[in-house]
């Protein structure tokens, strides 16, 4: 075979093969590039053998050229697999530093550790706060702390959705009488998050310009915003003003934290619901009798310890049963609900409200004597009387009466105080008065025309 023929036959097929191996090695990496090179070398051998035949092995030059071709193809695969970026990274990496897969594995471990810590912390928190009457302000604080520790989130603001999902109310603001201005849950970036259920993450280019623009137009800086769900329903929103982790490396952690916060929120709602069902009257929302006696007894002891006077009032809705008997029990329930609402708004946070029976409520008022309690009750009674005047249309005229008993200097126990207040309530009925107090002499009752 002539030299020109040899070059044409043996060397020319090298170039497409070596080029293919180079590109393949680049895509597959060093080890796999070597593997690809070896495969292609075997294929090249097969081509040479098919075109030239076994005669080539008799010529030492042909053998050398063939072996050189084999070596070149394999080396090309391995060399191309070692990309310049990787080489540069390898050069920059200090001796003993962890490799990229190791670093990713460590990050994953770190994320799992943080999630696990958050779960442990919530379990402990729930155990300490489940018996609390209003756990939401503390849960607000818990969310801030957890997101701060696990994701470096600061300026965190959790909101609950109210008004059928139309408004946002700060989670820590639990007092129903507070009339602070609430945010709209239908506008801006929050409206987008609440409607779609998708989270907003600053710096995430996949979200589109419009979303970024909406976030920039939000009243405060926003780095992260996600909806809290209970099943298919959205029940709240959490907004973080700043996020001290890189979003691209922590997306899975952030997503896990979103789900975790939703789970915690739902678990607390359920626990709170169950607890409330066990202690509260479902219609009025006031304590059932047993729960009232338990909590009011604690308040009473606390007041006596501090030397404070205490008064107990029994508010009776007379003839309520007539509305029930006439078949309008839903009207009666509504009345009870509204009366309870008025009482709740008028008393202070450390006063106690309970439902004694179907038509009577009990109120323990701290730091007031009978006379002051009567003044407070007079304020309440004017509203209740107005409310009950509307019941005439249902065929029964509900009358509100109240008996007030003060602790005085004798410091009686709760049962004695309740008995005294019930006696005063009976006295008011007998004398056709609205309020009777243990301070008033017999016959000196507050007339129905307050």
């Amino acid at each position: 075979m002539r030299t020109t023929d040899l070059i044409m036959t043996l060397l020319l097929p090298w170039f497409p093969i070596i080029l293919g191996v180079g590109v393949g090695g680049r895509l597959l990496g060093k080890t796999r590039g070597f593997g690809l090179g070896m495969l292609c070398a075997v294929f090249w051998m097969f081509l040479v053998h098919a075109s030239v035949g076994p005669v080539i092995w008799g010529d030492p030059w042909t053998v050398m050229a063939t072996l050189a071709g084999l070596a070149a193809i394999v080396a090309m695969g391995g060399w191309a697999g070692q990309s310049p970026e990787k080489e540069a990274a390898a050069e920059l990496e200090p001796v003993g530093a962890e490799s990229l897969p190791n670093r990713q594995a460590n990050e994953r471990d770190d994320h799992c550790e943080r999630i696990s810590t958050a779960i442990d912390r919530f379990e402990e928190w729930l155990e300490n706060h489940s018996a609390h009457g209003d756990p939401w302000p503390a849960f607000d604080e818990f969310i801030r702390m957890t997101l701060g520790d696990c994701c470096g989130a600061t300026h965190v603001k959790p909101y609950r959705l109210v008004d059928e999902g139309g408004e946002l109310k700060p989670l820590g603001e639990s007092d129903p009488s507070t009339e602070a201005k609430h945010l709209s849950a239908r506008k801006g970036i929050v409206g987008h998050v609440v409607t779609t259920g998708r989270c907003y993450l600053a710096g995430d280019t996949t979200q589109g310009e419009l979303i970024t623009q909406l976030a920039e137009e939000w009243q405060e800086p926003m780095a992260w915003c996600f909806a809290v769900r209970e099943g298919p329903h959205k029940i709240g929103v959490v907004i973080a003003g700043q996020l001290n982790v890189a979003p691209e490396g922590s997306r899975s952690l952030l997503r896990a934290m979103e789900r975790l916060i939703s789970r915690f929120w739902c678990a607390l709602r359920e626990t709170h619901r169950r607890r409330a069902a066990a202690h509260d009257d479902p219609i009025s929302g006031a304590y059932i009798r047993e729960a009232f006696f338990r909590t009011a007894d604690q308040s009473l002891r606390e007041s006596y310890r501090q030397g404070e006077p205490v008064a107990l009032a029994v508010v009776a809705l007379e003839k309520l049963r007539e509305i029930n008997d006439s078949g309008h029990w839903e009207v009666a329930d509504e009345l009870v609900r509204e009366v309870s609402g008025i009482l709740r708004r008028k008393i202070r946070v450390d006063d106690q409200l309970g439902r004694f029976d179907g038509s009577r409520f009990m109120i323990l008022l701290r730091r007031v004597d009978s006379e002051l309690a009567s003044l407070i009750i007079a304020q309440i009674m004017s509203q209740l009387t107005e409310l009950c005047a509307n019941t005439k249309r249902w065929g029964a005229s509900v009358v509100v009466r109240c008996g007030v008993a003060g602790s005085g200097t004798a410091s009686p126990d709760l049962r004695t105080l309740v008995s005294k207040a019930l006696t005063q309530c009976r006295r008011a009925r007998m004398g056709d008065a609205q309020v009777a107090s243990d301070l008033q002499a017999s016959g000196e009752l507050i007339e129905a025309t307050l």
């Binding site: 004597d369 006379e371 003044l375």
Partner: protein
């Protein structure tokens, strides 16, 4: 319970210390009404050391407020703690008084 009395310019500042209940309320009311009925009706009551008050004290304050109103001035209360403020609000009597944060503001209001 004791009632401290000091003069800031032409204004009498009364400072009851302790809860105003029963006999303490009566003695405080006597002291207050003495000041109100004197020739100088410029009175400020500093309530910051009163954890709570009873109906007698409230009645005394109301009497003082009524008498001061007749003399074209107000009953000025300073540093009323939340527990006492609640009582004024709950009984609907808060509007009969003027509330101030500190004694200086209350005294200045007479100028």
């Amino acid at each position: 319970m004791k009632v401290e009395h000091r003069q800031v310019g032409t204004v009498d500042v009364l400072t009851p210390i302790g809860a105003l209940t029963e006999e303490d309320s009566e003695s405080f009311c006597d002291a207050l009404l003495d000041r109100v009925r004197s020739g100088n009706p410029r009175v400020v009551i500093s309530m910051q050391d009163v954890p709570y008050l009873d109906s007698i004290a409230l009645e005394g304050l109301l009497t003082a407020a009524d008498e001061l109103t007749e003399r074209a001035t107000d009953c000025k209360l300073v540093g009323v703690p939340p527990t006492c403020r609640e009582i004024f609000e709950l009984t609907g009597l808060a509007e009969r008084f003027r509330f101030f944060k500190d004694v200086q503001d209350a005294v200045k209001s007479y100028l």
